[in-house]
Symmetry: D2
Subunit: 143 residues, 4 copies
Amino acid sequence: MNPRNPSFAEDVARTFAKQPIMNLIGARLSLVEPGVVEITLPYRADLTQQHGYLHAGVVTTIADSACGYAAFTLMPAGSNVLSVEFKVNLLRPAQGVEFVTRAEVIRAGQTLTVVRADVFGIAKNEERELVATMQGTMICLHK
Amino acid sequence: MNPRNPSFAEDVARTFAKQPIMNLIGARLSLVEPGVVEITLPYRADLTQQHGYLHAGVVTTIADSACGYAAFTLMPAGSNVLSVEFKVNLLRPAQGVEFVTRAEVIRAGQTLTVVRADVFGIAKNEERELVATMQGTMICLHK
Amino acid sequence: MNPRNPSFAEDVARTFAKQPIMNLIGARLSLVEPGVVEITLPYRADLTQQHGYLHAGVVTTIADSACGYAAFTLMPAGSNVLSVEFKVNLLRPAQGVEFVTRAEVIRAGQTLTVVRADVFGIAKNEERELVATMQGTMICLHK
Amino acid sequence: MNPRNPSFAEDVARTFAKQPIMNLIGARLSLVEPGVVEITLPYRADLTQQHGYLHAGVVTTIADSACGYAAFTLMPAGSNVLSVEFKVNLLRPAQGVEFVTRAEVIRAGQTLTVVRADVFGIAKNEERELVATMQGTMICLHK
């Protein structure tokens, strides 16, 4: 996929840094390529639900941000991206010392971009297990 | 809808208190009835995305918890509830001094319960605007 | 909701008549109001799956068309409508002598419109039971 | 993925033959492997919407059946499968001389199985284009 914005990587990093929620939960950008973005989130006890697993809303928070930025890498310079909708299937209890979500653009349109994100729990021994998968739609707001 | 667990309200309150993420973001239970749960979240700048709106993942966090607890009110005593999947449509920028999500059970089955949640942004003048809507499936884990 | 196209009802009826699939399965428009459309489908054995219930794809076919037309009633004259995405929860076996789907617009935007549709199975004694519910996004293609 | 039902392929073929809707629209099973099923549907004008593209409901019909059978290949002998929910993103106008949907199991659980299906339009020159993608949940009813 061909980025139309030559400084897409800097622009993703810049707007990621402006998302206070990413700072609150301790998430960081770990990969930015055309149509692909990964976000990494270390486990923290204050991000969990009643059984000690990462809350589905936190799983969604990193997956949604990764989807938005993956879409954004293919948009023209100066665009804004917003989430239209997403669907998440929770496949296993979200456990691990760290979580990584990888979002990939499936279809980049002029206005709408469809993105898929997988979320993996990483165990101490570095084994990764798919814990959730998202399919969502992002919209490009042209300036 | 007829609760099979006479102490459903206490049980919801008790397990809500065990969700560390609710404490982190500052959410509180504001209504618990058979098949209906509301959660209230005051606006905080550290919960936002790059435009200052509540991040879609935080919107989802409170909607998903409300859905889970709404399903839980109708489950037998001693059950556990887990989210199977949900879909969220983001309808307007999530702005307001406070957010309220109201989840209502659409169909309570033996194993699966389908729930809908609306999320409202409340303005200073107390006007409420629908900012997102969730349709999801919860599963009952019988002890 | 205020229709911007004064002849929305005729336009819905005209394009509905141009959907060959509606004719194949025997569906008919049964209500057209601003932001609301109903489609009725009599039971037919050749529309079923292996247990004799209406196939989930047929349930979706009428719900999706109703959502598209409900969105269309609020679009400017001369617009086209396309489905962007939808999510369907199947709540009960789809049985009945007739099925009715009712779609209502939740949020009509300039480009995207979010619609919800319920699908009911109607028994011989005229009792109706909710068998499925759809939440979807429609896009307006301006001519 | 390891099938627990040694005659899964025959069982899929047998129950597919019992879905009258597949006969009505002219769909046929084209691949059955453990966790993977493909269904092929030749274009027919009576399956289209008002622009001559395959109706989204028909796209969904074959994708949903493929998902159900893909899940079924991994279930114990004598099980029944039902669709719990699915979400479909429509990526391009569904055009082609033939359509193929390929469903693959993402996660097979004891009760619930999550499946993804892509739907391709095949042009005269045999080029295939992704027109839709489904993410859904199937439930196993143990006899």
